[in-house]
Amino acid sequence: MSKGVAITGMGVISAIGNNALENYESLISGKAGISKITHIDTIHADAIMVGEIKTTNTTFEQQLNLTENSYSRSPILGIIAAKEALAQAGITDINNYKTGLISSTTVGGMDKSEQYFYEYFESDAHWQHINGLHAGDSTKKIADAIGLKESFVTTISTACSSAANAIMLGARMIKSGRLDRVVVGGTDALSKFTINGFKTLMILSDTYNTPFDENRKGLNLGEAAAFLVLESDEIVARENRKVLAYVKGYGNANDAFHQTASSENGDGAVLAMEKALKVAGLQPEDIDYVNAHGTATPNNDLSEGRAMLRIFGEGKVPEFSSTKAYTGHTLAVAGGVEAVYSILAIQNNRIYPNLNFKTPMKEFDLRPQTQVKEKEIKNVLSNSFGFGGNCSTLIISQEA
């Protein structure tokens, strides 16, 4: 068992709020952010629902003092969430400790790349976006915006488990003493690319997504950015920081079953949860709430449900819910958004409802939490799974 890593700041922007407080208020008032798409012109507009952040790029550009159309949406969202996290931690000089930035994304600047794909060869009007196709470009822009210099800056892309992995790597780098402080998380904007990609996989719901429901029809895509600030115990002591919670456990495994589907019994998910519990030095019964991956695809929820039963045992699965019915599936950022929600659950002793759940799945006896519940919460387990068999679990705890 090892000591947890202190979380001293958090920031999130999603379809249910432009900061952590707004997100929390939506979560406890049952206010979902799922709607028809308005910012992207797609022929699927009537056939899908999304978790879209309604604020336009133009408004964000003014807020951030950016030249119009200089950045794609992923770095813009990322900058907002990273700045919120740093402000909460009370960090004014980012370079006064050995600091790193570990971001994650699946699409990076794809929203602009797809918009100007052929236009680049006819006019130089939007050449500023050419290099934005690099996933790392969004991270570079966040690093610049927070003023980070001569530092370890990297980007992870493990599909829908990316931000969970960014948090995991950050915690490991603090523990090993390679960094004193690290900003970890991810950012992903909606794009035609992902809308059409998931459409071809036939896992997009045409209505509100219903995690863990027998009649679930698939996922709603979402967009979001979320970042945490992790700091060493030395900084926490020296700067007298308020610790929000701790990254107590983490586990990463590969399902090695199929490029896009999860194994029927959730082997990878089980391994990830087992590893996270081991790192945390906790037993399954120590977990007070599971923030499930729960994408509302037939495959994920079945596989994850079975994996939870294998970890916790029949009749012993703690309260669990998926918050994807609020935010949509925010791809790379899902694990980041849900890490923030896990911290908020601990701070407020509240479990969020799994919206839209009506009928239990026939394969097992598992019912997610459907009402806000007040309960003392010490340890939250949060799952994130992705294409390529990537399975990650984080355990966020009240105590180190």
Binding site: G136, S157, L169, A256, Q259
Partner: protein, 355 residues
């Protein structure tokens, strides 16, 4: 007590004939172009042809280089797979975008979308060898490979893993070349590889490749070298670079005089080679110097080629004449420093030692 980390095997598919580990740059191809394409190994020996047809180039290259590395290390499975890639299987991403536009979001099939996910290569290797262990993909431009190295090193030092397959891969795609030529990142005029550093033009010659290595915390007969240290820096002022290099060496209990060979990432871009030139004429003026991008060409994970080169030099104790940048006598190289940056950003230092 942290454990030492060793490079126990290599596997390379590049724009040179590097896929055969029994050779070491025996035949050189000098390109006279603005791009260089991979020299294909016999993919049929590794991948069933029916599968290979639909497979992205990055996956094919990586299947060969990762299998070569696993075979040479004499192991069938590993505790973790960590891959760095600047752009993933870019060909599929760009074709999928093209299809979306040209077919107005209709008649699309999932294969290209699936392969476009950055973590496809790591996922495919895991599937291929049934590795359920830690699986990570780094996508941070020219420190993607170094990020993977650093992650592996941390796990091996702490004994969280014993054998890790680490790699870097990027494939070259026409659309990407054309679009990046517009913004001057790729040279507009061909340059002969042997004259790359004298081109005096902006941009680089773009290439592709896949390099995989088994890193382990146990030395064995096949071991090439020890990986002593890896550091990455998102930004660096040119005038601060020598100071940073010295402090990196000091942190690793070594100094400039102890470096037997410095491998530099000069790519012939007149706007950014100054970082390297400052080192070759300053800090490392008396140190034997090597370069490689005239052989590998430039891509996000080209440092995989440098890592391969450094490992081969230490194991074979020979420095191919074609990579020599200066005339300083270099015999029995024991310690090698690799330095890279791209367009003034994403600097990395890697220290290797003979064991």
């Amino acid at each position: 007590m942290s454990k030492s980390v060793y490079i126990n095997s290599v596997g390379s598919v590049s724009v040179q004939k590097t896929f055969d580990n029994s050779e070491f740059l025996n035949e050189i191809t000098f390109y006279n172009d603005t791009v260089a394409s991979v020299i294909n190994p016999d993919y049929k020996a590794y991948i069933p042809p029916a599968q290979a047809r639909r497979m992205a180039k990055g996956i094919k290259m990586s299947t060969v280089s990762s299998q070569t590395a696993l075979q040479e290390a004499g192991i069938e499975n590993v505790d973790a797979i960590i891959v760095g890639t600047g752009l993933g299987c870019l060909g599929d991403s760009e074709k999928f975008v093209g299809d979306i536009i040209e077919n107005n979001e209709q008649f699309l099939t999932p294969t290209r979308f699936i392969q476009s996910s950055h973590n496809t290569v790591a996922g495919q290797i895991a599937l291929g060898i049934n590795c359920k262990g830690y699986n990570f993909t780094y996508v941070h431009a020219t420190v993607s490979f170094e990020s993977a190295l650093l992650d592996a090193k941390m796990q091996l030092e702490q004994d969280e893993a014993e054998h890790i397959l680490v790699g870097g891969v990027d494939e070259m795609v026409k659309y990407h070349v054309n679009s990046h030529r517009l913004i001057g990142h790729i040279k507009s005029e061909p340059v002969h590889a042997s004259k790359l550093l004298e081109s005096n033009t902006k941009g680089s010659v773009m290439g592709e490749g896949s390099h995989f290595f088994v890193l382990s915390n146990q030395k064995q007969e096949s071991t090439y070298a020890e990986l002593v240290s890896v550091e990455c820096y998102n930004s660096m002022l040119k005038e601060d670079l020598p100071k940073k290099v010295v402090s990196f060496l000091t942190e690793n209990q070594t100094d400039v005089a102890s470096i037997d060979l410095v491998i530099l990432g000069n790519n012939g871009d007149v706007n950014f080679d100054g970082y390297y030139n400052d080192l070759t004429t300053g800090l490392f003026k008396d140190t034997p110097q090597a370069y490689y991008k005239h052989l590998s060409a430039e891509y996000d994970t080209a440092t995989g080629f440098a890592f391969w080169l450094g490992a081969k030099i230490l194991k074979t104790q020979t420095i191919p004449e074609v990579v020599r940048l200066n005339k300083s006598k270099a015999s029995n190289p024991k310690t090698i420093l690799i330095y890279n940056q791209y367009r003034g950003e994403n600097h990395s230092l890697v220290l290797l030692r003979k064991c």
